[in-house]
Symmetry: C2
């Protein structure tokens, strides 16, 4: 058995190779450029963790983990185009460094390459894993579309926002874990609990991300505070504030959104504080976190085997283990 950190290192070592042919340069070099920007590689490590929860790591888990990381990077390349984002992790996005046509086609071929890694796994579970991968990939697209749709709407129901976050972010975490479990020979019931663990943990993580954008320590957070507020993003905090604000506060929020004053972040944070949005978000996050841990508890393997997943959950939700 390995710790979360050890598996991260093992996967990174495995992943650091050129996944693409040399030619045509304008198709494949952008793919490799984007991969070397790096990332936390959380999703592929989830697959290894899911496998090792039940059995020794099988080489197939590395193949699917690679596919999942390539899929994730494909979504980032295309999402950056849709968001017109020029930087990612301080580096130029593909459509900025090259151009939109190249980003479009490089993203496409990265998705196809992901499927090529899946094709290499044992035929016994290929169909099952491919089906889950396809379902998840379509859901991620659905989440991205809902996110873009929400930008055009004046307001969004909290339950719709949670659904969107589930699709855009959590299902891939959940599927990454479950695919590992399938490779590890887990029962249907254990597979489902692990999926639900990932789904709930992903939502807890997103609530925390929204919280840190408003109330985080700028140095630890690594991003400027209030970025979501500046962009009028509909976050957990914003939607809840709009939900419980009194008439005056509602007016203020609408005014801030339409006029974009210089001190918008400070003013919005005052309203958030007056509405006690921070405490509410922490409670909601705790609710999803506990739901995740309950599903982990319910998986029928020894507690010792679950340690790396507990470690991961605490790492993601920034708790001391």
């Amino acid at each position: 058995m390995h710790s979360f950190k050890e598996l991260s290192q093992l996967f990174s070592k495995h992943f650091e190779q050129n996944h693409f042919p040399a030619q045509p340069v304008n198709l494949y070099e952008p793919c490799q450029y984007f991969l070397q920007i790096g990332g936390k590689r959380i999703r592929p490590v989830l697959t290894l963790l899911g496998n090792e929860l039940f059995a020794e790591i099988n080489q197939d888990a590395y193949a699917v983990a690679t596919a999942i990381e390539l899929f994730h990077n494909f979504t980032l390349i295309h999402d950056d185009m849709m968001d017109a984002a020029s930087l990612r992790r301080g580096m130029q996005t593909v459509h900025t460094k090259y151009n939109s046509n190249i980003a479009l086609l490089s993203g496409d071929v990265m998705l196809i390459k992901a499927y090529d890694y899946i094709a290499k796994i044992h035929p016994d579970y290929l169909a099952r894993i491919l089906t889950l991968f396809n379902k998840t990939a379509a859901e991620v697209c659905e989440g991205q579309q809902m996110d873009m749709d929400f930008e055009q709407q004046e307001t969004v129901l909290l339950e719709d926002y949670i659904k969107m976050i589930g699709l855009k972010t959590s299902v891939l975490l959940a599927a990454a874990l479950q695919i590992g479990a399938i490779i590890g020979g887990a029962s249907e019931g254990n597979c489902n609990h692990l999926y639900q663990f990932g789904l709930n943990l992903g939502i807890a993580f997103q609530i925390q991300d929204d919280y840190l954008d408003a109330f985080g320590d700028p140095e630890k957070f690594g991003k400027e505070i209030g970025g979501d507020i500046k962009q009028n993003k509909k976050t957990f905090l914003f939607l809840h504030a709009l939900d419980i604000a009194n008439a005056d506060q509602k007016k203020q929020i609408e005014h801030l959104i339409s006029t974009n004053p210089n001190n918008k972040v400070d003013q919005m944070l005052s309203i958030f504080e007056a509405c006690n949005v921070g405490d509410w978000a922490n409670e909601l996050k705790e609710k999803y976190f506990q739901a995740a841990m309950k599903h982990l508890d319910d998986i029928a393997v020894t507690s010792m085997r679950k340690k790396p997943l507990v470690e991961l959950a605490n790492f993601l939700i920034e708790r001391e283990s």
Copy 2:
């Protein structure tokens, strides 16, 4: 056994259904809109033909045929974006009717849906067919990138152009046939001959397409004559003309490209005629057509079984059977 026409009708009937869920509307409605624009559905019918060359049609052939048609439509949605084309078959392209973000994401999810149909086939040949599908899909992207690269180059070697056409157009025809053959239980050797038949036929078809753009009967061709010339496209004819033109003609060609006079099409056609480009193209097309037919001959099944493929080849290359 069925004729090419019968299989076309069978496939169309099978394909005419909504392949996508209802929600999110902005993701899936554009997919279904684009599919109902229609098309000749040549590629999926090739899979049915490939299957029936060796055995009765298996339902799996319909599943993969559907996947191949969805894949082809995914490439069209994204290619239209890259070419900034506003119309296809007289209908608005997806990025024109909706917007670029929607076209990007709808294309992505259509590709994912293609893989979902592949996941349904029998595990015995799933890995083999998935691997061939992935290889082909990546090659189609490579061909598209080469095509875009060529637009930026002053000139292109004929052999590079043929390689590009092979990747962008022919490999999908070849793979569609071969996948059908795999489902039909064909031997490795027969599979390879069928693949080569498709590859060579595809190149012959493209030479003809380039020829008709310059010398076709506008009524039969269905497109305006000289479209490629107007857009300075590097076609078989253009590359050969540039190859064999004398110094004077070369100068004229370069002048036409840089100045775009009103009578550019007529002037370029005069040079094509002076260089005997039409006869050359017909000979080249014939060479590839005969190579295709030789591979069809070499497939070890009765001539009777090959009749629908001969029919198809004659239909594509516009000969009387």
